[in-house]
């Protein structure tokens, strides 16, 4: 074939392109382009009508400029004009410009559609194809609306040319993928299936793609395609390499069509008709046989095409998962590829084998290749291949080879690429747990993990080992001994200290008999690590120390001295300080019995899905994890247990505001709670990500005592909950009444604070004291009778207007029906936030005073920000998240006049009271305030970022909120804007 004839080239274009290529610098190029743009613009605007050739040339130049990365904002009209040209080359350039450049600009699309329509109905196959290509390349909804109905007609019309049919089929496919609702199903569908029988291989190739896509949505409508596809495939597979002429590719008959047919068959179950099935199995066997034949060509194209068909055949065999013989043959074939010199083949073989491993028929056959796979893990040069090898080892692991695989993976971990370390850690942790016969092996494995790759051991992994050790008493002594030994290492990872601290605190007594690990030795070993650790670990160690006081009374004096040290009691970190103070007091005033009850051994954890498994699934995405865990997942509650965002930081950042709650400490927690369960503070540390999964916790710190009563699953909670349901039911029937006019204003006072007087008039004063943590809260309402006369039929009720019923649960306790003159009654409300809400609940107070019925409705100061937990983050993280939340609906912004003096300290206090963390050194302007937090609800967590920019001169503020939820952004913005 001759080279392109120079005659039809566009000289001006060639000159322009070589000019550009000759430019020495970027600036010169831009200059040349701007010159050309100006030239084209003047030509298009000029009075002289341009001939088709010039128009084509200029449009083509514009296209080239666009492809170089410059914006093109004119010339569309000229391109549309080219569509109506009768010259093929001009029309073609017009279409190309539109396909590449046009997005659905409203007025143009109508003109374009007009041109397309003309060509589509022109009965000129060349023009029809161009129009179809354009529709397929643009694929917009507008085009779909205009043409989706016409194309099926063209596709099945008896007189359409083959090439038109091909384009029509793929064009329809594109429209169907973009907007399936626009493509009408109808009698044409049956005729499309018969295109599989078409004489022309190109038509079949195009039609198979369309049918494969359509049958996924409507499998029944296209069922007949299975037998047609099988017979087509059979004809191709059994043909001699010359039969198909130009459809044979490097001696492989129609590889693309074969692959597509095999994919189509993967949409269906194995054929029921025995004859069809027999024929298909024969095909699959033929492909497998051919793989064993010597290659007909040394060219890589030959082997690639052949193997492409082979891999697709194996996929189909795996999909059917019903022919043991074929599965084993497929496995052996892949086994050969595992040692092939082509990296691509080794990679694909590892990948396919991963799915074969989950089939019961081929699992054993896959296992025979274990040594090759282990070798691949060690020697492959490409990290993605090593990763597939690790995946396959994970998939082929069972009880018989778990020890070998786990130890190989551990060995690999020492040299593994950083990118895949965390995943390997998770896999090892899961396998070790799943196939542990004796749990000492499991404990060894996990401790090894921490030793080798401590940085990559996520919280889930070490939480899990604690859960398992706590639940299995046969391994506790061993675990204590092993961590003790591991901690001897001069430098051990912080995660090891955490695990060690927890296990020794719980089970250190089991090894205390040995003088080499006597209590003082244990303590000094742990304490030698204390100063090198982060706050969270130190907090955990403090809990270990108080447990030691219980386990080993002889360490009491030493530990009390440590707690009493200024570095603890006056620690700058509020959590450490609080723990030190409380533990010290607890250890001094509580009797041995009380201490023993409070610090009793942890109860077993309820069985649930391993959080590690959930994490691996999250990491790999649903598809990958599905194949890895197929059918072997342990039963357990849904994966949402550990869903959500990162676990909330431990109780750390909520300073306890109310003085009388702190008073609880005088009478230590056990008296307040009938179900002593153990050292709850630690429990909260370890399981802070799953408030409902853990056992009821009881903490020596007041907050935790406070919250432990709120834990929903605690059955013996001191409040008789059943009695509380009654008033809630009443309220539904009663009309809550309209809130008093100043209710909103009163509510606003409480957005940034939790305690104070909510309402006061001549008769009644209502005080509020409340505390919130995560998605739970408790509120005390104090009703004071300011008169000297008794209130009768006193009945405060809480109601949930509108949707609030499903968003917030408020349980109230009954109060006495009479309130004496000058007396005060207290009502406790337990609040649980189920999901984000906009309107606060209403409090209606009814009573009779001197014979007259009084009613009063207020808004209860429960707003969404009460469930806001502060989050500290570095500037970089903040900006990264800020950018992630850049959709317009995620942002809410308000610019408003300051209503209060602009005092920076007051503003800060308000922002903190609002619930957000204040982040310093984030905003380049130090005048601005930047905050972050998470709204905690039962159903979801919403991360929030906020920025407040004061303008002292104008006495204005600009407030910007970004959250992942539109309504939350808006609502928080409104609430907060009222405060300044």
């Amino acid at each position: 074939m001759p080279a392109v004839s120079k005659g039809d080239g566009m000289r001006g274009l060639a000159v322009f392109i070589s000019d550009i290529r000759n430019c020495k610098s970027k600036e010169a190029e831009v200059k040349r382009i701007n010159k050309e743009l100006a030239n084209i613009r003047s030509k298009f605007k000029g009075d002289k009508a341009l001939d088709g050739y010039s128009k084509k040339k200029y449009v083509c130049k514009l296209l080239f400029i666009f492809l170089l990365g410059h914006d093109i904002d004119f010339g569309h009209m000229e391109a549309v004009n080219l569509l109506s040209s009768n010259k093929y080359t001009e029309k073609q350039i017009g279409y190309l410009f539109i396909s590449v450049l046009v997005n659905s600009t409203s007025e143009l699309i109508r003109l374009i559609n007009n041109g397309v329509k003309n060509d589509l109905t022109s009965r000129n196959p060349t023009f029809m194809c161009l129009a179809l290509h354009c529709i397929a390349n643009v694929g917009s909804r507008e085009m779909g609306e205009a043409f989706a109905a016409d194309i099926p007609r063209i596709l099945v019309a008896g007189d359409s040319m083959d090439s038109v049919k091909q384009s029509a089929a793929l064009c329809l496919l594109r429209l169907y993928k973009a907007s399936p609702d626009l493509v009408p199903m109808g009698e044409w569908t049956a005729r499309v299936v018969h295109l599989l029988n078409d004489q022309h291989m190109g038509v079949v190739t195009a039609a198979v793609s369309l049918i494969t896509c359509l049958c996924k949505k409507n499998p029944d409508d296209f069922k007949t395609c299975v037998s047609l596809a099988v017979s087509r495939l059979s004809r191709i597979v059994s043909s001699a390499s010359t039969d198909l002429q130009d459809y044979t590719y490097y001696f492989v008959p129609a590889p693309w069509l074969s692959v597509k047919l095999l994919r189509l068959l993967q949409c269906y179950a194995p054929p029921e008709d025995a004859a069809v099935k027999g024929r298909l199995v024969e095909c699959l066997e033929t492909v497998l046989n051919k793989a064993q034949e010597p290659p007909k060509s040394k060219k890589v194209q030959h082997s690639n095409a052949k193997n492409a068909v082979l891999f697709e055949t194996i996929s189909l065999i795996i999909h059917y998962d019903s022919e043991p013989n074929l599965l084993v043959r497929a496995c052996n074939q892949l086994g050969q590829f595992l040692q092939h010199r082509e990296t691509n083949l080794r990679y694909l073989a590892l990948e396919s084998m991963c799915t074969l491993a989950s089939s019961e028929f081929s699992h054993e056959a896959v296992k025979t290749h274990i040594d090759t796979v282990i070798n691949a893990l060690k020697t492959e040069r490409d990290v993605s291949v090593r990763q597939r090898a690790a995946d396959l080892l994970y998939a082929m692991c069972d009880r018989s080879n778990a020890k070998q695989i786990v130890s190989e993976m551990l060995r690999y971990l020492e040299t593994a690429d950083y990118a895949i370390r965390e995943e390997i850690v998770l896999k090892v942790a899961i396998l070790a747990e799943k196939y542990a016969v004796d749990y000492s092996w499991y404990v060894d494995t996990i401790l090894n993990l921490i030793r080798i790759a401590g940085d990559y051991v996520s919280e889930e992994v070490w939480y899990r080992v604690l859960q398992i050790v706590t639940n299995r008493d046969d391994v506790q002594g061993y675990a204590a001994k092993t961590v003790f030994e591991a901690l001897q290492a001069p430098a051990c990872h912080e995660n090891m200290v955490k695990v060690g601290g927890y296990i020794l605190g719980e089970f250190g007594n089991l090894i205390a008999g040995d003088p080499r690990s006597s209590p003082p030795v244990q303590f000094s070993l742990l304490h030698s690590k204390f100063h090198l650790c982060s706050v969270a670990t130190r907090a955990l160690l403090l809990s270990t120390y108080i447990k030691f006081i219980n386990l080993f009374p002889e360490t009491k004096a030493t530990i009390q001295a440590v707690l009493r040290a200024g570095s603890q009691l006056r620690n700058a970190d509020v959590e450490l300080q609080q723990r030190a103070v409380e533990y010290l007091t607890l250890s001094s005033i509580a009797s041995t019995d009380v201490l023993a009850t409070v610090l009793e051994e942890m109860p077993p954890f309820p069985e649930r899905e391993s959080s590690i498994l959930a994490k691996l699934k999250r990491k790999k995405g649903p598809g990958a994890a599905g194949t890895l865990d197929d059918g072997r997942r342990e039963p357990g509650p849904g994966g949402d247990v550990n869903g959500g965002m990162e676990p909330a930081p431990s109780s750390g950042s909520t300073p306890s505001p109310s003085a009388d709650l702190l008073g609880l400490r005088a009478a230590p927690a056990p008296t307040a709670t009938p179900a002593p369960t153990g050292a709850g503070s630690l429990l909260v540390d370890v399981f802070s990500d799953s408030p409902t999964g853990g056992p009821p916790s009881l903490g020596p710190t007041p907050e935790e005592a406070f919250l432990s009563e709120l834990e929903p699953p605690a059955p013996e909670s001191p409040m008789a909950l059943s009695a509380d349901q009654a008033p809630a039911a009443d309220t539904a029937a009663e009309d809550p009444g309209v809130p008093i006019p100043e209710a909103d204003e009163l509510l606003n006072k409480f957005v940034c604070k939790n305690n104070g007087v909510l309402f006061e008039n001549a008769l009644l004063q209502i005080g509020v004291k409340s505390e919130f943590r995560q998605n739970l809260g408790r509120m005390y309402l104090f009703y004071g009778n300011k008169t000297s006369v008794q209130f009768q039929n006193f009945c405060p009720t809480v109601s949930h207007p509108g949707d609030l019923q499903t968003q917030l649960v408020v349980q109230t306790k009954r109060v006495p029906g009479q309130v004496d003159g000058g007396a005060q009654v207290q009502q406790v409300l337990n609040i649980e936030c189920l999901r984000d809400f906009l309107t606060p609940p209403l409090l209606t107070v009814r009573f009779r005073y001197g014979g007259a019925a009084q009613a009063l409705t207020l808004k209860l100061p429960v707003t969404i920000n009460k469930f806001f937990q502060p989050t500290e983050m570095a500037a970089q993280d903040f900006f990264q998240r800020w950018k992630q939340l850049s959709l317009p609906q995620q942002e809410a912004q308000k610019i408003f006049q300051a209503n209060h003096p602009m005092d920076s300290e007051v503003t800060k206090a308000k922002l903190l009271g609002f619930g957000s963390a204040l982040l310093d050194n984030v905003d380049p302007n130090p005048e601005n305030y930047v905050g972050a937090g998470i709204v905690q609800t039962k159903a979801l967590q919403v991360g929030c970022l906020l920025r407040l920019e004061p303008n002292a001169q104008a006495q204005m503020y600009r407030l910007t909120l970004r959250t992942s939820k539109e309504s939350v952004s808006r609502h928080l913005c409104e609430l907060l804007a009222e405060q300044f």
Partner: protein, 92 residues
């Protein structure tokens, strides 16, 4: 290279890289051969194709691609048929 749910299949010819982004379930090897066949088409059309042919006749490269692939699917795998069609088009 793996990015989200797409795989990239690429092939290098001298200094030119040809890349395809395909979905998770797609067949990698056959995609490699799609690239090969496209290059063969360019080669036949231009007569031993080089980078300059593609730059100076970028619109032709598009037209050839349109005949071979459409909407992301293979339309016509026969080299002869594609070239025959291109030739007939140019004559109109």
């Amino acid at each position: 290279v793996f990015r989200a749910y797409l795989k990239i299949v690429y092939k290098r010819y001298a200094s030119l890289y040809f890349c395809c982004a395909i979905e998770d379930q797609d067949n990698e090897l056959i995609t490699l051969e799609i690239i090969q066949r496209y290059v063969e088409l360019l080669d036949k059309y231009f007569g031993s194709v080089c980078e300059l042919d593609i730059i100076f006749n970028f619109e032709k490269a598009y037209f050839i691609l349109d005949e071979f692939l459409l909407g992301g699917e293979v339309q016509e795998t026969s080299k002869k048929n594609v070239l025959k069609k291109l030739k007939s088009l140019e004559e109109t």
